[in-house]
C-alpha cells in the first residue's frame, strides 16, 4: 500500500443499526435493510439526504439489489455501489466507505449489509479437483479442528468451550439469531455435522441487516453530530491469500499478516485490544485467530478460554455480540454488524454485554476465496 487509512483525514463511525439476524422468513430483504439504515440514521441523528454515498454489501441477493431498497428513503441521486466479497462483503463495504470519507470525496457515507439465505453460486474455474463436491465449509473447518487438536493436544471439549462462551454472549444480544445460553453438554450433544463439529459449534446462516454511517470531522460539524459518540477508525487493512508452506493453514496465516499490518497502522500492540469481533463461523476458528492476532502464543488459546480471559470482563472480550456462532452470519451484514458492536462497546452503550473500560476494538473477517479484513477502532474515553 502506498498509503494507509491512518495517513488520510480522520474518519469516524457515527451511527449504527440492525435488523435482527434471524432464521429464514418471508420478510423481503427491503424491509430488513431499511430497518437497519433507519436505525443507523436515528442513532447518528441525521436525515437520509446527508448521506453522500452508499456501499451495499450482499452476497446472495443477485444483481443490483440496493437501489430497490434505498429508493424508499427518498430521492437524492447519491452514488451507490454493490460489494460482494464472500463472508467479508460487509467488512469490505465498510472499508470502501471509510476510504471515500478519509480521502475527502465525501463527508458522510453509508455501509449497509443485507442478505437472505439464498443458494450460493460459485463459478466454474475449469480446474477439476479430487473431491471438492464432498468438502463443504464445515468439513474444511472440521479438518482444521482435527489438525489443531492433534498439534496442541487440545480436546474436543476444550474447543467446544468457544461455543459455550459465544452463546452466553449472544443470549444478551437482542439482535442475535441465537439468544439462548448453552451448556457444554448441550453443545457437544447436539447434532453431529462433520468431524468434531456439532451444530451448535457452527454458525446458523440466516437473514438480517446491519448498517453503519461514517463521517469526517467536517461532516460531524455540519450535521451537528455528537462528537463524543463518534468512534474513530484507526486502521483498515484488506489482504488476500498467498501460498503458504504445507501444513500452515491459510486462514490463520492470512489473519496473522493482516492483523499485524492493522496493529502497525494503529500503532497498537495486541495487548492494547479490549474487544475483538472475529470470524468464528466454527469454534476452532476463534482459537486460531486470537493466536494469529497475537493475544497469546500458538496453542495457548484454550488456556485463555478456560481462564475466562476471553469473556466479557476478562482480559480481552472476544465476540461480545455472540459472534457468528450465536449472533449469526447472514453474510452481507456480518462484517458491518461487527463494526456496530465494537462501536457500542467503545461508546459504553453495550448494556448487559458491556466490557468494562473498552477503549480499543478490532473487527476481523475472512472470506472464502480467500480474503481477510481487519479494522481497529478507538473511543475517546
Amino acid at each position: 500500500m502506498v498509503r494507509t487509512l491512518s495517513d488520510l483525514r480522520p474518519v469516524y463511525v457515527v451511527g449504527v443499526g440492525w435488523h435482527r439476524y434471524q432464521n429464514p422468513s418471508e420478510t423481503p430483504y427491503v424491509s430488513l435493510g431499511l430497518a437497519a439504515i433507519r436505525e443507523a440514521l436515528t442513532d447518528a441523528k441525521i436525515e437520509w439526504p446527508a448521506v453522500e454515498s452508499s456501499y451495499v454489501a450482499t452476497a446472495l441477493l443477485g444483481m443490483a439489489a440496493g437501489r430497490p431498497m434505498l429508493r424508499h428513503l427518498g430521492t437524492t441521486g447519491a452514488p451507490l455501489v454493490h460489494i460482494e466479497n464472500a463472508s467479508a462483503s460487509g467488512s469490505t463495504a465498510f472499508r470502501q466507505a471509510c476510504i471515500e470519507v478519509a480521502g475527502g470525496i465525501s463527508d458522510v457515507a453509508l455501509a449497509v449489509g443485507v442478505d437472505k439465505r439464498n443458494p450460493v453460486q460459485r463459478s466454474n474455474t475449469g480446474i477439476d479437483h479430487l473431491a471438492d463436491d464432498a468438502i463443504v465449509p464445515f468439513t474444511h473447518f472440521a479438518l482444521l479442528t482435527n489438525e489443531y487438536a492433534a498439534r496442541y493436544n487440545a480436546s474436543v471439549e476444550d474447543i467446544a468451550l468457544v461455543a459455550v462462551k459465544n452463546h452466553r454472549n449472544g443470549a444478551k444480544n437482542p439482535n442475535a439469531q441465537r439468544q439462548q445460553e448453552r451448556t457444554l453438554q448441550e453443545v457437544l450433544g447436539g447434532k453431529k455435522v462433520s468431524g468434531a463439529l456439532t451444530s451448535l459449534q457452527c454458525t446458523p446462516i440466516g437473514e438480517g441487516a446491519a448498517a453503519v454511517i461514517v463521517a469526517s470531522d467536517e461532516g460531524i460539524r455540519r450535521y451537528g453530530i455528537n462528537p463524543d459518540r463518534a468512534i474513530r477508525v484507526t486502521a483498515s487493512v484488506g489482504r488476500s491469500e498467498r501460498i503458504y508452506p504445507p501444513g500452515v493453514g491459510f486462514d490463520a496465516a492470512l489473519t496473522r499478516e493482516t492483523a499485524e499490518l492493522a496493529l502497525a497502522e494503529a500503532k497498537r500492540q495486541p495487548k492494547d485490544l479490549d474487544v475483538i469481533e472475529l470470524h468464528d463461523a466454527f469454534t476452532v476458528e476463534e482459537l486460531h485467530y486470537i493466536e494469529s492476532i497475537g493475544l497469546c502464543p500458538e496453542g495457548d488459546g484454550v488456556q485463555m478460554l478456560k481462564d475466562g480471559a476471553l469473556d466479557i470482563g476478562g482480559r480481552c472480550a472476544i465476540n461480545p455480540s455472540g459472534g457468528l456462532i450465536a449472533m449469526g452470519h447472514p453474510i452481507g451484514p456480518t462484517g458491518i454488524g461487527q463494526i456496530g458492536e465494537i462501536t457500542k462497546q467503545l461508546r459504553g452503550e453495550a448494556g448487559e454485554r458491556q466490557h468494562p473500560h473498552a477503549r480499543v476494538g478490532m473487527a476481523h473477517m475472512v472470506g472464502v476465496g480467500a480474503v481477510c479484513y481487519v479494522h481497529i477502532m478507538e473511543g475517546r474515553r
Partner: protein
C-alpha cells in the same frame, strides 16, 4: 485390455502396475520456478505468474502424510451419501490435497503415512467399471 474406466482421467491415471495393481499417479505440474502443483493447469503459476512453456506436466506420487481427517455426518449432496471420511494429505512431492478415505482403510490420525488406490464406484453405460481415487492408510 481392461474394461475399467477412470471417473476423472483428467487429474489422475493408472500407475505403472496396471489398472488396479498399484497406486495411481496424480497428474500435476511443475513451473520453471520450482513450484509443484496439482492438478495440472495452463492458466499460470500461482507462485510466480509464469505461464505457457514455463509450466510442464508431471506425475505426482500419492504417497504422503496425513495432516487431518474428518468424518462427515451431514452432507446435502445426495451423490455423496454420508457418512464418509475426508482426509487432508501433504504429498511427498509437495502439494496438499484433500479427498475421500477408502471405506476399507484402517483408521487414520494425523501423522499417518498415506497412499491412494483406485476403487470401483459404479458401473458405466456399457457395463465397464468406473474407478475413482481414494486415499488409504499405507501399510
Amino acid at each position: 485390455m481392461s474394461t475399467d474406466k477412470l471417473l476423472k482421467s483428467n487429474i489422475y491415471s493408472f500407475g505403472s502396475g496396471g489398472p488396479r495393481g498399484s497406486a495411481p499417479v496424480l497428474l500435476g505440474g511443475q513451473c520453471r520456478c520450482g513450484y509443484v502443483f496439482f492438478p495440472m493447469q495452463a492458466y499460470g503459476c500461482e507462485q510466480c505468474g509464469n505461464h505457457g512453456d514455463a509450466l510442464t506436466p508431471c506425475e505426482l506420487s500419492t504417497g504422503g502424510t496425513l495432516l487431518a481427517e474428518a468424518v462427515v455426518h451431514l452432507h446435502a449432496d445426495k451423490n455423496r451419501p454420508a457418512p464418509f471420511t475426508i482426509v487432508k494429505v501433504a504429498l511427498d512431492d509437495g502439494p496438499v490435497v484433500r479427498s475421500v478415505l477408502a471405506e476399507d482403510s484402517a483408521a487414520v490420525s494425523p501423522g499417518q503415512r498415506m497412499t491412494a488406490r483406485l476403487v470401483p464406484v459404479r458401473s458405466g453405460e456399457s457395463g465397464e467399471t468406473v474407478l475413482d481415487l481414494r486415499f488409504t492408510a499405507a501399510i
